[in-house]
């Protein structure tokens, strides 16, 4: 396994150049000559456990030979028995399936075209339970016409691995962001952090004030997402701030729900806000209520309530699908001030046209920090900006490097850059 895992970028680069050269230098005449040769069995066949996987996959490797022409076929056989019991697992033309066909990045895999590399997924032939941890035997047959030459038998026990080295790029990025996050949070200052004005959030006060004046309720929709979705969590944060203000102004709020778990969480949030505002007596348990877990039943029911009660303000914060316009349009015609926020980008246009203010994507996530003005939350926004900076710089340099690489035909270099930015 150590042979193929190469962490050193330099070495991998050299190897890649070497590989590219070999590939380019593969001459035609030699291949022609080879067809006349007798069919030789594969020598130097090795088998290892496929690295970085859950198990149940073996990896066979053997050298590419000059006689590997399209008229030769390789057949890979697998067996779980000491003798016999061979099952044909793979069959492919001899000039295909080399190291570069395995989709792994350069730091975790030697993408050499000098070796054949074949993954055999054992759970296709044996049970899920048997395919990891048991001993399996393999052999490779080279076939041309009626001639067959079989290699010697090799064996391996497949394992469940503990680390995905191929996701190293992702891990590095994660660690950078975590470090930046803790730095930002621990250096949180009470003053001096600039946050761009978000008109939609500034309008919340106005909306609640209007509701108080008119003596009409405020409707707050948390969308049709489940509690595990970030947008729903963000929506719960905002609901906390909104209901605190509602409690202070002694106005009325109603929160119809699509998901019972979200409802339970929101009950806690609203109750807490009323307590913080010093109005626990005004809190009622039916502020949050469940409507339906069917998208359009939910929309129909809430539409009915809005058009009957004519609320002073409607908030749509969270995850929305086709019901976005169904709700927002009814709200708009009933004359309510409407503030929406979602991270579902294809519903944004509907909210833009039917609502007074719309928070897009990350503005929704930032809203909790913006409204609460808590220094720790505010400084976490810096990390968001750092992330964006990393993406912008990467995109810029990525374009330049790949562009220049492609223009100068530095294929291995381009490959390295592409590997670094790919999710495995």
């Amino acid at each position: 396994m150590n042979v193929m895992i190469k962490n050193k970028l330099g070495f991998a680069l050299v190897l890649l150049f070497a590989a590219a050269n070999t590939f380019a230098a593969k001459p035609g005449p030699a291949a022609k000559k080879a067809t006349a040769d007798p069919l030789l069995p594969v020598a130097g066949l090795t088998v290892i456990d496929m690295p970085y996987d859950v198990g149940g996959t073996a990896l066979l490797k053997w050298d590419v030979r000059p006689s590997d022409t399209p008229d030769v076929t390789y057949q890979v056989y697998v067996s779980s028995l000491e003798t016999g019991g061979w099952i044909k697992a793979e069959e492919f033309p001899a000039d295909t399936r080399t190291g570069k066909d395995i989709d792994l990045p350069f730091w975790a895999w030697d993408t050499s075209v000098k070796e054949h590399a074949v993954k055999v997924e054992l759970n296709n032939y044996y049970g899920e339970a048997q395919s990891t941890g048991s001993l399996f035997h393999f052999k490779v047959a080279a076939v041309r016409g009626r001639n067959t030459a079989e290699s010697e038998v090799v064996s391996v026990v497949t394992l469940s691995n503990w680390f995905r080295l191929d996701r190293m790029n992702n891990l590095v990025l994660l660690l950078i962001l975590i470090v930046a996050f803790f730095w930002a949070v621990s250096h949180a200052k009470r003053k001096g952090l600039f946050i761009r004005r978000i008109a939609g959030l500034d309008a919340i006060d106005e909306a609640i004030g209007r509701a108080t004046e008119m003596g009409k309720p405020i409707y707050y929709m948390t969308g049709i997402g489940s509690m595990s979705q970030i947008s729903t969590i963000a929506s719960a944060f905002i609901l906390g701030e909104v209901s605190k203000k509602v409690a202070q102004y002694d106005s009325q709020i109603k929160v119809p729900h699509y998901d019972p778990i979200v409802m339970t969480v929101c009950k806690e949030v609203v109750k807490q806000s009323y307590m913080e505002a010093g109005r626990p007596d005004s809190y009622r348990d039916d502020i949050n209520f469940f409507v339906s877990q069917d998208q359009f039943s939910y929309a129909a029911s809430v539409d009915g309530m809005i058009s009957r009660e004519k609320p002073a303000a409607c908030f749509f914060m969270g995850y929305f699908m086709a019901e976005s316009l169904l709700l927002a349009e009814v709200g708009a015609t009933s004359g309510a001030i409407q503030i929406a926020g979602t991270d579902v980008e294809h519903q944004l246009p509907f909210f833009f046209t039917a609502c007074d203010y719309t928070l897009m994507g990350e503005e929704l996530y930032a809203a909790g920090a913006y409204l609460s003005k808590e220094p720790m939350l505010m400084s976490a926004l810096k990390v968001q900006d750092l992330g964006k900076l990393i993406v912008m710089v990467s995109v810029l340099f990525g374009i330049i490097f790949v562009g220049v690489g492609a223009w100068r035909h530095w294929d291995p270099f381009v490959q390295v850059i592409l590997n670094m930015f790919k999710a495995y």
Partner: protein
């Protein structure tokens, strides 16, 4: 009290958040099994929560009927609709078809649920048209760009529009399909990707805030 309401929940969030995060880097069977178990637990919790939802629904509509508030008649339909689907489902063991054709559940599905659901979605078309009329105004340069793009897109979506395009703008040599393809593959995708990347980063940071217990409003403050 603070221990039960604050520290223990935060510890649970932290431990399971970190475990879920690192399971992305651990391909081992144990980590796969762990994730599967978490999914199952979530389903079980959701099933119980559904009962809570049902109780809340019935209770709020019951109180509306009892107090005879405005539109209390609609609340009756909550019970009628519920029974119209649930009773046949239990009676027919959840089967919509049997040897004799449609069962009672099949009938409820085809003639109650089907039309009601389709009606709601169909209303969307009416709302889109009326919103387009009311809100699609060219008030700025950006709005003008949006207007031009939308106009071409709507035109190209239907055969009649394509014919109009060819007869009016055919001389330019560019088919409406090509123009739409270009709009959808370059400016639209670029914009979408930009928003998606911003959302993804926002989601990462929000997750940190929750895992590390910095943002905890969702469990009530103190």
């Amino acid at each position: 009290m603070k221990l039960i309401k604050k520290q223990i929940p935060l510890a649970i969030v932290f431990v399971f958040g970190v475990l879920t995060l690192i399971s992305y880097y651990i391909p081992h069977k144990k980590s796969v099994d762990f994730m599967e178990m978490m999914n199952k637990w979530e389903n079980i919790v959701a099933a119980f929560a559904f009962f809570l939802g049902l109780i809340s629904l019935f209770y709020s509509h019951y109180s509306k009927i009892a107090r005879k508030v405005d539109g209390w008649g609609y609340s009756l339909f909550v019970y009628i609709g519920f029974l119209a689907m649930v009773v046949p489902a239990i009676y027919c063991h959840g089967k919509q078809m049997d040897a004799a054709g449609k069962t009672a559940l099949g009938w409820s599905f085809s003639f109650i649920y089907n039309p009601l659901s389709a009606t709601m979605f169909a209303i969307l078309a009416f709302y889109i048209v009326s919103t387009a009329y009311r809100s699609f105004r060219i008030k700025s340069l950006q709005a003008f760009v949006l207007f031009v793009a939308a106009f071409i897109l709507i035109l190209g979506k239907v055969p009649l529009g394509q014919i109009i395009w060819t007869s009016v703008l055919g001389w330019t040599g560019a088919g409406v399909d090509q123009v739409i393809d270009w709009i959808m593959s370059y400016p639209a995708v670029a914009g979408k990707r930009g928003i998606m990347i911003g959302i993804a980063i926002g989601a990462v940071v929000t997750s940190f805030k929750i895992i590390f217990g910095i943002e905890r409003q969702y469990m009530g403050k103190d």
